[in-house]
């Protein structure tokens, strides 16, 4: 009986299986490891369009308004907040009252319909994140949200993945800054961050890495 397969078929078969394994492996690495951490997969550095062009670069960078003027609840509540229309109108009832880009704000104040912003920084529903606790312990706004004072349109600056959160939770001393500097943009630590961090961790009574990486701290 004549052979169906040419002599090189065995080699071909082995090579293609190997190639398949390699492709699957690379695919797995790309799809499961690289992609979820990439900017493409996480949306980092991708500005999100909002109902109207509010510019942080203008208000924070240019005018120097403190984060807390609008985001008033970060020091008091577990949930961060977006400013209400009334907060915007506290200035814009007198400043730039004719500007067409602000029509949405004026309309909202007039007819009581809130402005529907598109969420940029979010964690899944099974995670409990408490803003108040972080701000009180010396985590800077910039550490998680990036240089908001340079953002014309807000983009996510960090992945906000658990892996990323754990970097700090395992080693808070590396990232903590004095409470007085929490709201500073472009902060550079004076002394060696390590030494300052250790001192702040004990001063602010920050829990140990073992306690901070307890599951129920975030997954309540």
């Amino acid at each position: 009986m004549p052979q169906v397969f040419r002599p090189g078929a065995n080699l071909f078969a082995r090579l293609s299986i190997a190639a398949l394994v390699v492709v699957l492996g690379v695919g797995a690495v790309v799809g499961l490891v690289w992609y979820p951490r990439s900017d493409l997969g996480t949306g980092v550095n991708d500005p999100i369009e909002q109902p109207f062009p509010y510019s942080h670069a203008l208000h924070v960078g240019g005018l120097g308004i403190d984060c807390r003027y609008c985001h008033a609840m970060v020091e008091k509540s577990s949930t961060a907040d977006i400013p209400s229309t009334e907060t915007c109108m506290s200035c814009h009832s007198q400043v730039a009252t004719d500007r067409p880009t602000l029509q949405l704000v004026r309309d909202s104040y007039q007819n009581g319909q809130p402005i529907s912003w598109n969420r940029v920084n979010n964690v899944p529903d099974f995670v409990y994140f408490n803003h108040e606790a972080h701000v009180a312990k010396g985590v800077g706004c910039e550490t998680c949200h990036g240089r908001v004072d340079t953002m014309n349109v807000v983009y996510k600056a960090e992945t906000l993945h658990m892996e990323w959160c754990l970097q700090c939770h395992r080693n808070p001393a590396e990232y903590i800054r004095p409470r007085a500097n929490v709201f500073d943009m472009g902060y550079q630590p004076q002394e060696d961050q390590r030494a300052l961090g250790e001192q702040l961790v004990s001063e602010y009574k920050i829990a140990s890495a073992v306690q901070l990486t307890n599951c129920s701290v975030c997954h309540r």
């Binding site: 949306g43 209400s84 809130p114 529907s116 912003w117 598109n118 969420r119 899944p124 658990m162």
Partner: protein, 788 residues
């Protein structure tokens, strides 16, 4: 529950119990007779309470288990990968003042029970009331709360609440109601309101009192009637007898060392009972040598919370309490007529009691119960006078209820008017009178004789079925109002949430009758207080009153009155062994208003531990005599009317007195109250609403399942609760040594570098009110389990 419910051998073995008690070998602490004698039923019940591991009949095979595990693993990682969630974040336009998302705000308000205010702090989470606590600044609570305060938050969210205005069953709205009724109100003016009648319960609201006065001034021939199934009628009658004018008694238990309660359940029943509990508890703790621990003597006709805390207690039939009171009064030098104390329970401690009272003049207290007739109250006041207590432990004030200083009619007056056909418009401001009226008045038959009946209430209950217009009432957490506490302190009731449904308050309904159909409760209450206020800056005073929860300076000052008229001659005493019936407000349902509140239905009553039903409470001796066992259904016949209920044997119940509790057996008003208990109002007459003899009791042969937690959580022989005499403790404070467990443990030892936390409950002060049980359920939103 299974073993003892339908057991025909449930009949009490009194001999065994007597032997056990007499031998001294029995348990010192026991919760039921079964527990005391360790009957077979009890031991089986204890075993069933925590059954050994159920067999895993349908256990998963290992393979299936791994399959299920794999599936859940697959779901685990996928949800957090999405880079753009597409969620919206929507802020307020104008945020509420002071609101921090996630943090609660507390508002001061008041809740009324039987019209009397108890100051509360309401915790509001993001605009929704979630928990009620007492207001520390309010004299009636001082931060404490009782079961009704804790459970009332559930009533706010009750889905069975009336939601829309109804005209004979058809949904309408407020505008329809006002448009249709305005011509009738106008017609009333023709003959000066002769056809108008208002029926209310006990009210203390100054604003409502003022509105009703204005209404009566506008319609001089109209009449205001009050009826309350519980209330303080006997106490007021006693005061009228003793002082010739209406006064209220306010007691100061923190100044009393010796207390005699003549059937007075002052820890639960009276307005101010929460404060009385607290004050009593202060003197009950073993304080240093400077202050004496108080001593409570109670003679009562059923086992109540107060009686369970007594140092000396005697169970008498309610009619015998008067004899006892006369005996004590006679020994104190008051001319109280002859008192035959032969065979009276507690007669043997009459002399030591009187000695105790006399040696603590000015620091003693005699209080008469709300179900005792006027004569006993008058005697109690006279005794306090003789002991020099007035101004020390008892003070008298002007009456808190506006009805006492206005001409009001009674329910029987109203029924007479109804039967005569002279009522054109009857406005009923809450109270469910069709259900709670005394049986002999036949109120349900007379009510339809009114041309127009307008009824304001929270539920579509028995009275709403007979009303032409039913207006849904607002819950006290949704409305503006005011109320006075037992000592006169007035609080503004402020809403913590907008009315959830189309509710209206009594103020708004009466304002409509006064010609203002769109008046808002806020404006009405504020206008009243502005007219009353003498403050230079009313706005500031108003804000202060709202913030504190009390209006400063409204506590009634003591009046210097002395009991004048001597107590009337004693009525003829009936045969000693005539069977007596006793009507009591239910320990968890009160007069029936909380029947649809599942938390209260499920709360075991403090002493009988009964849930979801009421029972006919009989003493063990009576049970033995009549051959009654727990859960037997009996027919109670009193003055020609009969009702059937299940028996529960209650140790501590006097021999010839049968107690029935009010508030059950309702037919309409919600899903929770269906099929619970029997209706004691059906045999309650208006002449003797609290007790009377001539009761007949007859077994029907049927049985009815009663759910009780009496035997739950048995200590099973372990010595967890220790007791000792006060003197023993004073001599040896180390009577109960701290025990260390020396068993080895796998866990590393706990280290508490800074602070360690613990909770201590002072059991001396705990009276057993069960408010803690309900507070836990309210705080943690634990679900109920239902009767089965």
């Amino acid at each position: 529950m299974q073993s003892s419910s339908n057991d025909p051998k449930g009949i009490l073995d009194i001999k065994a119990i007597r032997e056990m008690v007499a031998s001294g070998r029995g348990k010192e602490i026991w919760r039921s007779f079964d527990d005391l004698v360790d009957s077979d039923q009890f031991l089986e019940f204890v075993k069933d309470e925590f059954p050994r591991q159920a067999s895993l009949a349908n256990a998963l095979s290992r393979r299936d288990f791994l399959k299920v595990l794999g599936a859940s693993l697959a779901f685990a990682g996928l949800s957090s990968c999405a880079p753009r969630t597409g969620e919206k974040i929507v802020p307020y336009v104008r945020p509420p003042e002071e609101l921090v998302p996630g943090k609660p705000l507390f508002f001061a308000s008041a809740m009324t029970l039987d019209g009397y205010a108890q100051g509360i702090l309401v915790r509001s989470d993001m605009g929704r009331p979630t928990k009620i606590e007492g207001n520390p600044k309010h004299p009636a609570t001082l931060g404490a709360s009782d079961i009704f305060m804790q459970a009332s938050i559930l009533d706010l969210y009750d889905p069975d609440r009336a939601q829309v205005v109804k005209n004979q069953g058809e949904a309408r709205n407020w505008v329809d109601f006002t448009t249709a009724t305005v011509p009738q109100v106008a017609a009333l003016g023709g003959n000066k309101g002769a056809g108008l009648r208002i029926l209310t319960e006990t009210i203390t609201s100054p604003t409502l009192g003022d509105q009703l006065r204005a209404l009566l001034a506008q319609y001089p021939s109209a009449r205001w009637h009050t009826y309350s199934p519980v209330g303080r009628a006997e106490e007021h009658a006693g005061a009228a007898q003793a002082f010739g004018e209406p006064v209220d008694a306010v007691y100061q238990f923190d100044r009393a060392t010796i207390i005699l309660s003549l059937d007075a359940d002052f820890m639960f029943r009276t307005p101010g009972s929460l404060r009385y509990q607290r004050d009593f508890g202060l003197r009950r703790q073993a304080l240093p040598e400077t202050e004496e621990m108080n001593r409570l003597y109670v003679v009562e006709s059923s086992l109540t919370l107060t009686g369970s805390n007594a140092d000396h207690r005697a169970a008498l039939s309610a009619r015998q309490v008067e004899t006892f009171a006369r005996a004590v009064a006679g020994r104190l030098g008051i001319d109280a007529g002859a008192a035959d104390t032969a065979g009276l329970p507690g007669a043997n401690w009459l002399d030591p009691l009187v000695d105790d009272l006399r040696s603590h003049s000015g620091a003693s207290l005699v209080i008469a119960g709300d179900r005792q007739p006027a004569a006993v109250h008058a005697l109690a006041y006279a005794m306090n006078q003789a002991l020099g207590n007035i101004g020390q432990t008892v003070i008298f004030t002007d009456p808190v209820e506006p009805a006492l200083t206005n001409p009001v009619g009674t329910l029987s007056d109203l029924v007479q008017d109804l039967d005569a056909g002279s009522v054109d418009m009857l406005v009923i401001l809450d109270g469910n009178p069709v259900y709670t009226a005394p049986a002999d008045l036949h109120f349900a038959e007379s009510l339809p004789k009114a041309r127009q009946v307008i009824y304001l209430s929270m539920y579509e209950d028995e009275t709403a079925a007979l009303a032409h217009w039913h207006i849904p009432a607002t819950h006290f957490l949704e409305m503006w109002s005011d109320a006075r506490a037992y000592d006169g302190t007035t609080s503004i009731i402020q809403p913590v949430i907008d009315p959830l449904y189309q509710g209206k308050s009594a103020h708004e309904l009466v304002a409509f009758l006064l010609g203002q159909p769109n008046a808002k409760g806020y404006d009405i209450v504020r206008a009243y207080w502005q007219a009353q206020s003498q403050a230079a800056n009313f706005e500031q005073a108003w804000q202060q009153a709202l913030s504190d929860g009390i209006i400063a300076g409204t506590a009634l000052p003591p009046r210097p009155v002395t009991p004048t008229a001597g107590p009337a001659a004693p009525a003829s005493s009936p045969a000693a062994d005539a069977l007596e019936i006793l009507f009591e407000p239910d320990p968890t349902i009160w007069d029936g208003r909380f029947a649809n509140n599942s938390w209260l239905q499920e709360l075991p009553k403090p002493l009988s531990k009964l849930t979801w039903d009421n029972a006919v409470l009989v003493s063990p001796i009576l049970a033995e005599r009549e051959g009654l066992a727990d859960r037997d259904v009996v027919a109670l016949t009193y003055r020609g009317r009969t009702v059937e209920g299940a028996v529960m044997i209650q140790p501590g119940q006097p021999e010839n007195s049968v107690a029935v509790t009010l508030g059950y057996g309702r037919s309409r008003g919600g899903k929770v109250l269906e099929g619970t208990g029997y209706n004691a109002y059906a045999i309650r007459p208006s002449e003797t609403p609290w007790f009377g003899d001539g009761l007949e009791i007859r077994k029907t042969g049927r049985r009815y399942d009663l759910a009780t937690t009496r035997d739950h959580s048995s200590m099973e022989g372990r010595d967890l609760v220790r007791t000792a005499d006060y003197d023993e403790f004073r001599q040896n404070p180390d009577l109960f040594p701290h025990e260390e467990s020396n068993l080895p443990s796998l866990y590393p030892e706990d280290v508490y570098p800074d602070q360690a936390w613990g909770v201590a409950i002072i059991l001396c002060s705990c009276v057993g009110c069960n408010a803690c049980v309900l507070a836990c359920q309210a705080e943690n939103k634990s679900p109920g389990v239902g009767k089965q």
